[in-house]
């Protein structure tokens, strides 16, 4: 691919991000603006921003890559990513908004009336955030290497630098505009090239390989256990993702939090049709891409491969721009939410502390990413979902719906989930991707029930520790807001 194309696309996205970030800066003055955009963001803006933030390297590059490799088995990834939002809507969206908590540690502290629970939750949130940023940086490394031929670390450093500048300069308000813009950019960047590809293919009558006969890697299809375990991770992992939950605070009330989620579901459903189409077309017309071991680059390479010429270069530039929008938006969303947690716990919640925490949140994963290699992007993000599903999901679900949860139970359950799922991830990494048995490669099916069970049993055993504020809290979580608030 022409290296100028990649560099120009990345520069254009970074510039647009910085300009929109600066535009937002002029309206973001107070600490409240900085943290949560003062809760004045309209549902459509907010939904676009949630979509922009959620659609990461795994969605933009990884899903198509996995579909190219393993066919219909990989379709569970986009379905699970979307259905996770349905679970979020059903069990978490409105009560979490009504709790008034800005971060998950805020919520657990208020719910369980315990500073220790807060610290444990903060540690887990920061771990989740860092684990989630790492694949984004791997994606950036892959994209910069494939499209420009520059060394991989350039991509990682560039993404971290742009994220630090936008977050430090504008906080959440400018991030909201940036994220909303980036959703539509990502959608365009996948939709326009695929239209051209389909036109070219139907015009030239290129012979297609029958899809079902393609098995580029010769790998056995995933078993029933793996598919179920993956779905458990994706369905229950979404509702614990820190950068997703922060967004709900920008809704004015619980009912609008639900409406926003409905719009998000629509936006995600439309988006995921496109990676699926890339994967299917890749299997039918360019199965050779899977053999080079660069399946994750399918989306980036397909326009050049099938359209070619000047048009191919332009379409490639668009896709590369979309890919960088994906790395930038997810990373900055995570950095904002991590900075919120770190600055409140370590720096007393000031604007200066938020800026310092933002830099910390972005630089640490850069170190991890540069020391590790990239597996399949959708796969490594799937592992992060398994981890949140085993730690933050139980504490949120039980905290919202069960009066009997105690601080001891919450800590024991989160620790169990973290140790089991983290252990499985570490063992899987040591054994290598091809060698680990299914129950280690996809641990969610047993780690999530284990975390729930420990949380419930320990809470039962320590039932005298149920906080006295429970009645008031449950009332606030589940009753609609006052008319004064909802009439607006």
């Amino acid at each position: 691919m022409n290296p100028v194309v990649g560099i120009a696309a990345f520069a254009a996205v970074s510039l647009a991000t910085a300009v929109i970030g600066f535009y937002g800066l002029r309206i973001s003055r107070t600490t409240g603006d900085f943290y949560v955009a003062s809760r004045t963001v309209r549902p459509w803006w907010n939904a676009s921003a949630i979509g922009g933030e959620y659609l990461s390297a795994a969605s933009f590059l990884g899903v198509a890559g996995l579909i190219l490799l393993s066919g219909t088995d990989a379709l569970w990834f986009p379905v699970g990513y979307t259905a996770g939002y349905l679970m979020l809507l059903l069990f978490v969206a409105a009560p979490l908004r009504r709790s008034g908590a800005y971060t998950i540690p805020d919520f657990t502290e208020a719910r369980l009336d315990s500073r220790v629970v807060r610290s444990v939750t903060s540690i887990i949130v920061v771990m989740v955030g860092w684990l989630y940023i790492v694949p984004q940086l791997h994606g950036a490394a892959l994209a910069i290497r494939i499209t420009t031929g520059l060394p991989a670390w350039v991509g990682m450093v560039a993404v971290v630098a742009v994220v630090c500048v936008t977050v430090v300069a504008g906080g959440m308000r400018s991030i909201t505009f940036v994220q909303a813009f980036q959703y539509w950019l990502k959608l365009t960047a996948l939709a326009v090239p695929i239209l051209f590809i389909v036109l070219v293919l139907s015009d030239s009558g290129t012979p297609a390989v029958a899809e079902s006969s393609v098995n580029p890697t010769g790998a056995a299809p995933a078993g029933l256990y793996q598919n179920i375990s993956l779905l458990v991770a994706l369905l229950f992992g979404t509702l614990g993702l820190p950068h997703v939950l922060v967004r709900f605070y920008t809704n004015p009330d619980g009912q609008s939090a639900r409406r926003t989620t409905l719009i998000v579901l629509g936006l995600l459903s439309v988006f995921y049709l496109f990676p699926t189409a890339y994967g299917l077309i890749g299997r039918m017309f360019a199965p050779g891409l899977a053999q080079s071991g660069q399946a994750d680059a399918l989306v980036l390479l397909l326009p050049g491969e099938l359209v070619g010429g000047m048009a191919g270069d332009l379409l490639s530039a668009l896709v590369v721009a979309g890919a960088f929008a994906a790395f930038l938006s997810t990373t900055s969303g995570l950095v904002v939410s991590l900075a919120g947690v770190i600055s409140q716990d370590l720096f007393g919640g000031s604007v200066k502390g938020f800026r310092r925490a933002a830099v910390i949140s972005a630089v640490v994963p850069l170190g991890i990413a540069s020391m590790t290699g990239s597996l399949a992007l959708a796969g490594s993000v799937g592992m992060v979902f398994a981890f949140t599903a085993s730690t933050l999901c139980p504490v949120l679900l039980l905290g919202i719906w069960w009066r009997g949860l105690t601080d001891a139970g919450a800590i024991a359950g989160m620790a169990t989930g973290a140790v089991l799922c983290g252990g499985a991830m570490a063992a899987g990494a040591v054994l290598g991707a091809g060698e680990s048995p299914p129950w280690l490669a996809q641990p969610a099916a047993w780690t999530v029930p284990a975390a729930f069970a420990v949380m419930v049993l320990v809470s039962r055993a320590t039932r005298t520790r149920v906080p006295r504020t429970i009645t008031r809290l449950m009332t606030r979580l589940h009753t609609p807001e006052r008319p004064l608030v909802t009439e607006r």
């Binding site: 409240g32 003062s38 809760r39 004045t40 219909t72 379709l75 569970w76 986009p78 379905v79 979307t82 259905a83 939002y85 349905l86 679970m87 809507l89 059903l90 069990f91 409105a94 008034g100 899809e211 079902s212 779905l231 004015p252 009912q255 639900r258 409406r259 989620t261 409905l262 579901l265 629509g266 459903s269 995921y272 049709l273 699926t276 299917l280 719906w401 009645t471 008031r472 449950m474 009332t475 606030r476 589940h478 009753t479 609609p480 006052r482 008319p483 004064l484 608030v485 607006r488």
Partner: protein, 130 residues
């Protein structure tokens, strides 16, 4: 029982509507009476029943959705020839799993939101909010 409870997020919201502050005192007192009502034993009966019906609704929608989700691959496996058939030139199993599930998700979400709002409206009627 104490009635001092203007918690942080709510007070922020109240402040942000200060242009209409002329109506605030009346609304405040209405809010206080609702606080008192909710924290009484009778009020808690309503609150608990609201929580139960919202949880039941969420579980029913989730289970219904999961059953449909499981039914899709089962259908492909059990009906002979279905997975190999094509629809407008595309393999049917891809259309079903890659596109057909999304409308089901959207419909479940829409049904849930409508019913959840209705549960809340019923609760408002019970506690006497306008």
């Amino acid at each position: 029982m104490t009635r001092v409870r203007v918690t942080a997020p709510r007070s922020v919201k109240a402040d942000s509507t200060t242009p209409g502050s002329a109506v605030l005192p009346a609304v405040r007192s209405a809010a206080d009476s609702r606080d008192a009502a909710e924290e009484s034993d009778a009020g808690q009966v309503f609150v608990r029943s609201l929580i139960r019906s919202q949880l039941r609704l969420a579980v029913v929608v989730a289970v219904g959705f999961l059953l449909i989700l499981v039914a899709f691959p089962l259908m492909l496996g059990l009906v002979p020839g279905l997975a190999e058939s094509t629809i407008v030139g595309l393999p049917f199993d891809w259309v079903l799993l890659g596109a057909g599930i999304y409308p089901v998700i959207g419909l479940s979400a829409w049904l849930y939101i409508r019913t959840a709002a209705r549960n809340e409206a019923r609760y408002r009627d019970l506690v006497g909010d306008k």
